[in-house]
């Protein structure tokens, strides 16, 4: 038997009994970042394939939301910093080994493009708002139009973007993949936490992010064909996610003791119920079944599986952030 006791007082906030410095803001940011990455990935891919009229919501409208999501995410990130006034230090350097540095620079690119993209589709956005009956949001499009009339530089930028949209689409596609994958790699880079420290976490976060993106489109699109296509894609993504999750847990179970203990958090430990019942059950399996039933002709409101997938994606990040910090090497 071995027992270790801390003799001198060290009840520093966020360190004992285990490191806990990241919580709700970081998990929410990881969710919003993944969701934005997913939406932009579909928008750019379908645009490049020349299907903007077949998938109008995906290509033209949905990116408008990504800008909002990314701005909320950025606010949460800055809110979570402990030395906030020095945040600009992120942009005085680029550190190739630090995923957070990659993320900071990627976010700059993504926020600029995710603003320009919807600005270049302002007519379609107006039409969508009218079709949906969201006339109260008219002020957004009106404001942008006024800006376009009054400010020459603004008009020039929007026209320039519209003209070279295809080139920008490739850049944005690349950035959105980095954004989606980096949120997972961010966590897996911490070898002090065995639960995070596995190479499947990056692909798993990307898949989950893209899945929430497809669910979001499926939920808000007003085009039946688009909804069906997204629901098929989402089913494939959910299946991939399940495969990755089982793979991740198998890998940890087959690893050294610290990794087995990490897996135990989900296999009998305190995150078992929330992980398997609420995330895997209600966030992956149930929406998969609902989407399959809808394809078979049952009438299921598309919002139901979509919202389940979105809540599942958020829960997954909360679980990974909280459980990961509890998984440590025994000192």
């Amino acid at each position: 038997m071995e027992e270790k006791l801390l003799v001198t007082a060290r009840e520093i906030h966020g360190l004992y009994p285990h490191v806990h410095i990241w919580g709700f803001p970081i998990a929410t940011y990881l969710f919003l970042g993944g969701l934005a990455a997913g939406i932009l990935l579909f928008a750019t891919i379908y645009y490049i394939k020349g299907k903007e009229d077949e998938m109008p919501f995906t290509v033209k409208i949905a990116p408008l939301f990504t800008f909002i999501f990314i701005m909320i995410g950025l606010l949460l990130l800055v809110y979570d910093l402990h030395h906030k006034l020095y945040v600009w230090q992120l942009f005085t350097t680029f550190r190739i080994e630090s995923p957070m540095s990659w993320g900071a620079w990627t976010l700059v690119g993504v926020s600029i493009f995710s603003l320009l993209w919807p600005l270049s589709y302002i007519d379609d956005i107006e039409e969508y708002l009218h079709e949906r009956g969201w006339k109260r949001l008219d002020w957004i499009t009106k404001f942008i139009r006024t800006l376009e009339h009054k400010c020459k530089i603004f008009r020039f930028i929007v026209l320039f973007f519209r003209k070279h949209r295809k080139k920008f689409a490739y850049i944005l596609l690349f950035l959105s993949i980095i954004l989606g994958i980096y949120t997972g790699i961010l966590l897996s880079a911490f070898n002090a936490h065995p639960l995070w420290n596995n190479s499947i976490l990056g692909p798993l976060f990307l898949t989950s992010g893209v899945s929430t993106g497809s669910a979001f489109v499926m939920w808000l699109s007003n085009n039946k064909k688009e909804r069906t296509r997204m629901s098929v894609i989402d089913m494939a993504l959910i299946a991939t996610e399940l495969f990755f999750i089982i793979h991740m847990i198998m890998g940890m179970q087959a690893g050294p003791e610290a990794f087995q203990q990490a897996a135990h958090l989900f296999l009998g430990g305190e995150f078992t119920v929330i992980f398997w019942v609420f995330f895997v059950g209600f966030g992956l399996v149930l929406p998969f079944i609902l989407e399959a039933m809808e394809l078979k002709g049952f009438h299921i409101p598309p919002a139901l599986p979509a919202i389940l997938v979105l809540i599942g994606g958020f829960l997954f990040r909360m679980i990974m952030v909280y459980a990961g910090q509890m998984s440590e090497y025994p000192l």
Binding site: V7, V19, Q89, L90, S98, L331
Partner: protein
């Protein structure tokens, strides 16, 4: 130049002088500490064995904290000492998450703080505060690159271990059995 520390666990009585000396020398805020004492008890009654470990930043050779820092605030100075530049630190907590030893914490002013091996004293040819006050002289500080230094000889001749070597950090605090 490669600074390191060797601590004789059987000579340590857990008095915490090193902890207090560090807090005084480095103006560590009340309630915080850059080093700490762990008591380790092994065996079953009546066959019990116990020793103390004075723990702190391991000034690792392979530093996960410096690797994950997004601004370069965490860096390595001459002699392998890991330090944080306060004005470059944004307080994101990446290094705290990256450290397997929980050696880093948020200073009340927001930046991340940790053991500096008392580099201001070392530059003057002195030992770190914790080493210099140890009443049992169980702690030794010196240059591992010099084969004739006391610490090089101790690590060469005495059985020793490091903390969580499996994390792959190559720590530079050695505990002599």
């Amino acid at each position: 130049m490669r600074y390191a520390m060797a601590i004789e666990v059987n000579k340590c009585v857990g008095c915490a002088d090193c902890v207090v000396a560090c807090q005084t020398e480095n103006n560590v805020p009340h309630g915080y500490s850059r080093d700490w004492i762990v008591e380790i008890a092994r065996g079953e009654y009546p066959d019990l064995y116990m020793h103390f470990e004075s723990q702190r930043c391991n000034h690792c050779d392979d530093t996960p904290c410096v690797r994950t820092c997004p601004t370069g605030a965490s860096h390595i100075i001459e002699g392998g000492i890991v330090k944080v530049t306060h004005d470059e630190c944004i307080g994101c907590g990446a290094c705290i998450e990256a450290c397997p030893y929980d050696a880093r914490y948020f200073h009340p002013e927001g930046y991340v703080d940790k053991c500096t091996f008392c580099d201001h004293r070392v530059a003057d040819g002195l030992d770190p505060a914790c080493v210099s006050v140890c009443p049992t002289t169980c702690m030794h500080f010196g240059d591992l690159d010099d084969p004739d230094s006391e610490i090089s000889k101790l690590i060469r001749t005495r059985e020793n271990y490091t903390l969580i070597p499996e994390a792959g950090t190559n720590p530079q605090i050695f505990y002599l059995k």
